[in-house]
């Protein structure tokens, strides 16, 4: 089993294509995720341009038709959640970090791990191909509510029940299978392959968070996978699970979707909370404040996330009495996140803070995520949701939850562990410019949308020229401001790519432990060799023993005997 006994693979195919090394698989997931983010970003460019300048030709594309607009918004949501957030935060960093942080030579099942990426790759190809089939890609919204998505209603056959929708469902289903294969590896590796002395409460928070994310995913995915297959059957073989004319029920799908969909938010969020803890402790040179409380309240949030799903359905036609229960649970989910925000602030308190690039992204995450949290209270309140449910207020809210999580969290992690996996230090100046432009532009996109949402701007409209009350000068200005900010944000991203590529060739060499951090991945060379550790490390303490009184050094590696 042990990789240390095998020689590292030498052929190109074995090393990079049919790789079983967790670090290479992590890199495959990361690069695929980043490339998909470019596709998702381009789609947002298309629909934001159409919204700000309706009917005008979009540079680099041409005129956007109503049907293409629906494709763009559907695929933007699908790609950003399933092909960017999950592969980058969960799959890439789970693969990079778990074996190294538990002191293992690789994942428990390396071949299964390889298959996980390969199935994911196939799902990516299928999704991208769907743009080019007759009728275009799926266009019924990323939540795929039937009957529109099922195509079982009168007159649907010719323009929606197309190949794009079939491929969308198949790609999603394959992607879930890929993450199940990867996820079982995360769990088995961190349960069974921890180094001697590495008890549960000495594990870095990020390992806990990645494992919890996998558990949430596994417990919630069954209903949606079944729901997606039923949808595929409705589309292809004429079943009527969601067709009222055949005794089916469209709202059934919404329950199956959101029973998965809400825990899915935490599948994305938990890895980032893990990155946050590692980065805050390292750059504040302090133990993470309330390690055990963070874990306990995260368990609480994870359990609670299974009983909040119907807040997506307050006005969908469910029994209105149900809303009272879901409104209460939804408001209460603010509790664990209050703990985490205040634990972050308390970690900074009386620290010795260095604002490196990863630290900027991490503190930026906390600052921005709070906006997502506070605006969630408006929507969790079922009565105000009656007004805001289908407006841009919702769009702004969930982007303030997801962009800090995925973009801020993703960039934080990439910058923080870049030296470990690339063997070179990324450029700080480029990194800081990239951070500030991206962070400011992000607020420029979504702050105006809270206000247009409150003014009644409803969602998924292709051209507001048809709605005089939503074409006031003020609202037009807000829309143009949001779109311009998006252009600035997109224009800043080459800074990131230049930094990554330039530093790979020209950056300063990274030592084993450039930040003087404690967890086990910093005890091996950068980049770690095949098999990671030359001998199995022994762990003597937790991962956050920074600035311990009486010690000269302000850090204390987990595997240092004294």
């Amino acid at each position: 089993m042990s990789h240390a006994m095998h020689a590292a693979p030498t052929s190109f195919l074995r090393k990079y294509v049919f790789a079983t090394d967790h670090k290479v698989i992590g890199m495959q997931y990361l690069i695929t995720g980043i490339l998909m983010a470019l596709v998702g970003g381009f789609l947002s460019y298309l629909f934001r341009m159409q919204l700000a300048f309706p009917g005008e030709s979009i540079p680099g594309f041409g005129k956007l038709a109503a049907s293409q607009y629906n494709i763009a918004i559907t695929m933007h949501g699908t790609i950003m959640v399933f092909w960017v957030a999950m592969p980058i935060l969960l799959a890439a960093f789970g693969n990079f970090l778990i074996p190294l942080m538990v002191g293992a030579d690789d994942m428990a099942f390396p071949t299964l791990n390889m298959m996980s990426y390969q199935v994911f790759f196939i799902s990516t190809v299928i999704l991208l191909v769907s743009f080019f089939v007759p009728g275009g890609a799926f266009a019924a919204g990323w939540t795929a509510y039937p009957p529109l998505s099922a195509g079982t209603y009168a007159g649907s056959k010719d323009f929606l029940s197309n190949m794009g929708g079939h491929l969308w469902i198949i790609a999603i289903a394959l992607e879930f299978i890929a993450f199940l294969m990867g996820g079982i590896n995360f769990l088995v590796t961190s349960f069974n392959m921890r180094a001697p002395g590495l008890s549960w409460f000495r594990l870095p928070v990020v390992v806990w968070m990645l494992d919890l994310a996998v558990l949430l995913f596994m417990f919630s995915i069954g209903p949606l996978l079944a729901g997606a297959i039923m949808l595929l059957f409705d589309r292809t073989v004429g079943t009527g699970f969601y067709d009222p004319a055949q005794g089916g029920d469209p709202i059934l799908f919404q329950h199956l979707f959101w029973f998965f969909g809400h825990p899915e938010v935490y599948v994305m969020l938990l890895p980032t909370l893990g990155f946050l803890c590692e980065i805050l402790a390292t750059f504040a040179r302090k133990p993470i404040f309330g390690y055990k409380y963070i874990l306990y309240f995260t368990f609480g949030a994870a359990l609670l996330s299974f009983i909040v799903w119907a807040h997506h359905q307050f006005v969908s036609g469910i029994n209105p009495r149900m809303a009272n229960f879901f409104s209460l649970t939804t408001l209460l989910i603010s509790v664990p996140f209050t703990v985490i925000v205040f634990a972050s602030i308390a970690t900074l308190w009386r620290g010795n803070i260095q604002f490196s690039v990863p630290m900027l992204w991490a503190v930026g995450f906390v600052a921005e995520f709070m906006i997502g949290g506070v605006t969630g209270v408006y929507l969790g309140s079922s009565a105000f949701d009656i007004y805001a449910h289908d407006t841009y207020f919702v769009i702004a809210h969930f982007h303030y939850a997801l962009i800090p999580t995925v973009v801020f969290g993703g960039f934080a992690a990439i910058h923080f562990w870049y030296p470990k996996f690339m063997g070179r230090m990324p450029n700080e100046t480029l990194g800081k410019w990239h951070f500030w432009i991206t962070a400011i532009a992000f607020n420029g996109i979504f702050l105006p949308l809270f206000f247009t949402g409150l003014m009644g701007e409803h969602r998924r409209i292709f051209d507001y020229s048809a709605w005089p009350s939503l074409m006031t000068d003020e609202m037009k200005l807000y829309r143009k401001f949001a779109t311009t900010s998006l252009l600035v944000l997109l224009a800043a991203q080459p800074l990131f790519f230049i930094n990554m590529i330039y530093s790979y060739f020209k950056g300063a060499w990274a030592v084993n432990n450039p930040y003087k951090a404690n967890s086990l991945e910093w005890s091996v060379p950068s980049p770690p060799p095949h098999g990671n550790f030359t001998e199995v490390p022994t762990v003597y303490r937790g991962a956050y023993e920074f600035s311990v009184p009486g010690r000269e050094a302000d850090y204390w590696p987990q595997d240092a005997k004294s």
Partner: protein, 319 residues
């Protein structure tokens, strides 16, 4: 909360009040938390004077109180907001008042169909008044609606009433509102329903009581001499362009006098587009389908002869 549009619903005041309450409580907590974060980040940034950080693990109660005190405050605020929320929700969605008037609302691709009770004040009788995209109600009246959908999900969203309710095929959902001010207000479709979703725009027309009585006696709709107003008002432009662009159905450009291949009962035939064909296509759209376009998509229109005459005059100019 002056960002919200004008409110004309009896219960709208409570909904707006809830938004104001959440804004005050939320913004206060938010500003305090951000201030603490920014203060900590700047106050304790790396400097020459401070040699090292304090060793604080935050696990003893004495230290952990700094996360538990905010936590208790947040729980109390949550419960307070939840109690207020539940009361408003109950009033809007659970306790339907006795109806002064019943209407039926049906969403379809891509317009709203409204059935008003007519002179006898009862739904489901001979004198029911059916309209497309125009809902007529009297002011200060408890209107109880039954909301359904013909094909896919739609959502009855009237910003001025602070009301959203999804319309689901296969069932009727009951709800209510009471409008307090005469005028015309937009009705949107809040749920993506297909390519023509943008054009699914209805109007809520609130009359004062005498005016409403007059409308019931002589229920005219439309009556416009502006063809685009008629086309948009009936949701036609969701699927048919006037500039030759293909949307869902054929464009109106050059339609008058054109020879079309249509499919009637599965057989192809040639027709010339004239007045009779246009009337039939609006009122019985399923009878003939232009070849190359999807069949069975278009709902039957309820346009008056006068409206159709205005349209025909306009089509003649669309060369």
């Amino acid at each position: 909360m002056n960002f919200l549009p004008e409110n004309i619903a009896t219960y709208g005041t409570q909904i707006d009040g809830l938004a104001a309450l959440i804004s005050w409580l939320g913004l206060t907590s938010f500003v305090l938390a951000e201030a603490a974060l920014v203060y900590a980040a700047f106050r304790y940034r790396r400097s020459e004077k401070r040699k090292r950080a304090a060793y604080i693990k935050g696990e003893s109660w004495g230290q952990a109180k700094w996360i538990f005190i905010p936590l208790i405050l947040v729980v109390l605020l949550d419960i307070f907001i939840d109690i207020k929320t539940t009361a408003v929700w109950k009033q809007v969605k659970i306790d339907l008042p006795t109806a002064d008037m019943n209407v039926r609302i049906v969403g379809q691709q891509f317009n709203w169909q409204f059935t008003h009770p007519g002179k006898d004040g009862k739904l489901g009788t001979e004198d029911d008044v059916k309209t497309t995209n125009e809902l007529h109600v009297p002011v200060d009246t408890n209107v109880v609606f039954e909301l359904g959908a013909k094909d896919v999900l739609h959502s009855f969203f009237v910003p001025a009433l602070r009301l959203t309710q999804d319309a689901v095929p296969g069932r009727f959902i009951h709800g209510w509102f009471n409008a307090t001010k005469p005028g015309k207000y937009e009705i949107a479709c809040g749920q993506i329903c297909g390519t023509g979703h943008t054009g699914m725009r209805g109007m809520l027309i609130v009359h004062n009581k005498e005016e409403f009585q007059k409308w019931v006696e002589n229920p005219v709709t439309g009556g416009s001499t502006d063809p685009m107003e008629i086309l948009k008002g009936n949701g036609c432009t969701s699927c048919h362009s006037v500039d030759g662009t293909r949307v869902v159905g054929p464009s109106y450009k050059g339609i008058w006098g054109r020879s079309e291949t249509v499919i009637t009962d599965g057989a192809e035939r040639q027709v010339v587009v004239d007045e009779a064909y246009i009337k039939k296509s609006i009122r019985e759209p399923k009878a003939d389908t232009v070849k190359g376009y999807p069949a069975g998509v278009m709902p039957a229109g309820t346009l008056s002869d006068a409206d159709i005459d205005v349209l025909i005059k306009y089509f003649k100019t669309l060369k």
